[in-house]
Amino acid sequence: MGFQPVKFYQTGTYTVGNRLLAADERSVQSSEQRSNAINSGHRACQGCGEALGARYAIDAAMAASNGQLIAANATGCLEVFSTPYPESSWQVPWIHSVFGNAPAVATGIAAALKAKGKTEVRVVAQGGDGGTTDIGFGCLSGMFERNDDVLYICYDNQAYMNTGVQRSSATPPAARTATTMPVGPQPGNPFGQGKNLPEIAMAHGIPYVATATVADLRDIEYKVKRAMQMHGARYLHLFVPCPLGWGTASHDTIRIARLAKESGLFPVFEAEHGEVTGVLKIRHPVPVEDYLKPQKRFAHLFGKHAHPDMVAHIQALADRNIRKYKLLDEEVH
């Protein structure tokens, strides 16, 4: 069924906490006892979606595993801003792998725990979209194929942000990056390229695949908990806006993630053994312009030399997602 928001007045489960909910209905993040897996003092930019998403996800995994958790971390922003030698923000056992092999390192940890009989200790691996969809893809596909007992979390900010905003295979069409400049008749990243990793993961037939955005905390916590209740290879694809790389205001991080979901450009769903089992419905539908316009990486689509055809193309992609995943309730028009 997927995550169903509680329509409990006055804010239900839309806010992080709600004093009107029973204690067992409250979120991990609303608790003063949350593990704060990634602590203050990290060097992420102001308004970093990835730092926030990582705390949401790992705190939820810590809560679901009673604090018995080991995290492997691919190279990337998350690793660099959290752990400049000799300091670390991590308050969980944490290991830094190289850029491409976090899934393999996690597999090894899981195998060692199995050999030692420490079945209560759980393993997560995490990386950015570059480390996941490009560089670590071979290791990840192998981890899926072997159904190793690891939850892999990809924090998708749609480019190589740490090294200066270069294109990855998760960069959306038309986006400006350092390597896809807004020049020529089809400015920005070309249409028709890139990978849809959640669908590729589903094609492996692994027990659990889910997508989420940093705008829906309760949905993330539900999905991490669900994933931690299972064994085998699991994949969570978390959409995390990057104010620096996308050219958005630092205070808009959550709003942008919300607009990505509400426009249909980023479908939020979950799948078990390759089959979609639940979607988070669009609540207030918006055109893709609402999502694109606040981002400088799409600025060349608007203004003096606008490209309405490309915007229409992006809208068509959103509409296809809405159809494919049935993101709109029937009664919503």
């Binding site: 329509k7 006055q10 979120s27 993040q29 003092g41 060097r43 102001q46 926030l52 300091e87 205070h251």
Partner: protein, 540 residues
């Protein structure tokens, strides 16, 4: 410490890295003024009492409510709720039914027998209050809670003023009024009925009063000259409504013409309808220009009251009146057309407004009277030191709620004056407008509609027209509040900070920022549902 191979530095926590130094702007928690509180003539902290009602703590909600208004069950029936007209939720779906929740709390207090806290200390000062209407009762309540000895002198046979002798029973059942008046008297307030104050300074001197608050209301009906035959039966609305409270109900006949377009005209028409008559309201302007509230006009029309708009009465002779049709000119004023019409009328009730009986003030030096009402300073003091006034006898919009507000304001100023100081109201917070909210976070919830009495019973009985909410739907309605501008502890700031720079202080204690690590991104401000955080520039 022996370090492993190739390790030269001690491992440490990122907490040594104070990222707060990056900041150019800092978030700060604020309390903004919700539009409901801003609009309330009685100065209620509506958002504040709804907060407690939301969690089902109705007694605490009631206690916060009565800090400003001792008559919630009355108010929940007769107030024209300007709070709801200004409610930010109106821009989402429909305003919060504040008035209906207030009534629920008031009724709940009567049902459960909740009492006011007795004053902690006694000031030794004595205050005279003239008139036991909404303004006088409100002032008495506040002064008593501040520790002053209060004596009310009421000319009428019962307390309540216009709440009893002006507002019909079908809008305000008398047992509700009695219960709320009694609770004020239980504070130790002395009420002297049938005691007309003939001369204010004399009464003060005789009784040894240190200050006085005048709230005699406006009970003298305004008249107009209508050429009338000897047998024509012309009465005024105030006396009709007043006599409804006594044994001798007014004899008006079957065809009753009510002249006027205010709430009193509607009240009289609906009252005589219930007595089996056929009322016709005659008003010189149009419906949208009538001073009566539109919902009252609507309810009157539903009950079968006839209204002749754009008409004036030219003549009243035996059993018949002549009305002239009017026409609005460019400026919206009615002008005669010369077209006449005759209507059957056993009696004519004039509802043309009321004047104040100022006889008790005769010979008092320093008073300023303008347009028939007493002028008061911003602290509600008249031109005579120590004599304050409020309610319908001072320039105001004449409603129960305004009267209650005057009583509170006067009480605070009288208290300060008795202590030899000056009352300075707390500075107003900046308004919490709709654009400061993040409405995404509120669940969709349409307004709960209060039940209305069957039409046939509305036409024939004096039962209360509008029903109340029960516990479940009152709770639902309270939870529709957006808590504009005031933290309701939703934990959003605590959750959405990428830097763990918000400290949760525990239930009821809200939050604080850890400026050592806050980078000033502003996500907490954007994602605060109710606009209770703002960014301010760092000092350079």
């Amino acid at each position: 410490m022996a370090k492993p191979f190739a390790i030269t530095l001690k491992p440490g926590s990122s907490l040594t890295n104070l990222t707060g130094t990056w900041r150019t702007e800092r978030p700060v928690y604020v309390d903004r003024l919700p539009p409901c509180n801003h609009a309330c003539p009685a100065g209620e902290n509506i958002q504040g009492w709804l907060f407690h009602a939301e969690s089902g703590d109705y007694e605490q909600a009631w206690r916060v409510l009565v800090q400003d208004n001792p008559l919630p069950a009355v108010m929940g029936r007769v107030c024209y709720h300007p709070c709801e007209n200004s409610c930010n939720r109106g821009q989402l779906d429909a305003p919060v039914g504040i008035n209906s929740v207030e009534r629920f709390l008031g009724d709940e207090a009567i049902r459960c027998g909740w009492k006011f806290d007795a004053p902690a200390t006694s000031s030794g000062k004595k205050v005279l209050i003239v008139g036991a209407g909404p303004s006088g009762l409100s002032a008495a309540y506040h002064l008593a809670r501040m520790g002053h000895a209060v004596e009310i002198h009421e000319a009428g046979p019962l307390a309540g003023g216009m709440m009893r002798f002006g507002i019909p029973k079908y809008r305000l059942p008398r047992d509700v009024l009695d219960a709320e008046v009694q609770r004020i008297l239980d504070l130790g307030v002395t009420l002297k009925l049938n005691t007309r104050v003939e001369h204010i300074e004399q009464t003060m001197k005789q009784g040894g009063f240190d200050a006085a608050f005048l709230a005699v209301g406006a009970h003298i009906a305004r008249r107009t000259t209508i050429p009338a035959g000897d047998a024509a039966h012309i009465v005024d609305a105030v006396s009709v409504l007043r006599s409804m409270e006594g044994e001798d109900k007014p004899m008006l006949g079957r065809r009753v013409v009510v002249y006027g377009g205010g709430n009193t005209a509607i009240d009289v028409a609906r009252t005589v309808k219930r007595m089996g008559a056929e009322p016709v309201i005659v008003y010189r302007r149009t419906r949208d220009k009538a001073p009566a509230h539109d919902f009252e006009i609507e309810e009157a029309l539903q009950e079968g009251v006839m209204i002749k708009w754009l008409s004036t009465i030219k003549q009243a002779i035996d059993g018949e009146i002549t009305v002239e049709r009017m026409q609005l000119d460019d400026k919206g004023f009615p002008q005669p057309t010369g077209e006449y019409e005759k209507l059957e009328a056993d009696s004519v009730v004039l509802a043309l407004g009321q004047d104040v009986d100022l006889s008790l003030l005769e010979g008092v030096p320093g008073l300023e009277i303008k347009d028939g009402v007493v002028q008061v300073a911003p602290n509600m003091m008249t031109g005579r030191t120590g004599i304050f006034a409020g309610g319908d006898m001072v320039p105001s919009e004449r409603t129960v709620t305004v009267g209650v507000g005057h009583g509170k304001k006067a009480a605070r100023n009288i208290d300060a004056w008795l202590r030899g100081t000056e009352y300075t109201p707390a500075p107003r917070h900046e308004p919490a407008s709709f654009d400061m909210l993040n409405p995404w976070y509120y669940t969709d919830a349409p307004k709960t509609v209060r039940p209305m009495l069957d039409l046939i019973r509305r036409q024939t009985t004096f039962e209360e027209v509008q029903g109340g909410l029960d516990e479940t739907n009152a709770l639902f309605e309270a939870r529709r509040c957006l808590s504009c501008g005031n933290c309701f502890e939703c934990d959003n700031c605590y959750g959405v900070c990428p830097d763990n720079a918000v400290i949760k202080l525990g239930s009821g204690k809200r939050f604080k920022f850890n400026y050592d690590y806050c980078k000033g991104c502003g996500i907490c401000v954007s994602e605060c549902p109710c606009g209770a955080i703002k960014m301010v520039p760092e000092e350079t």
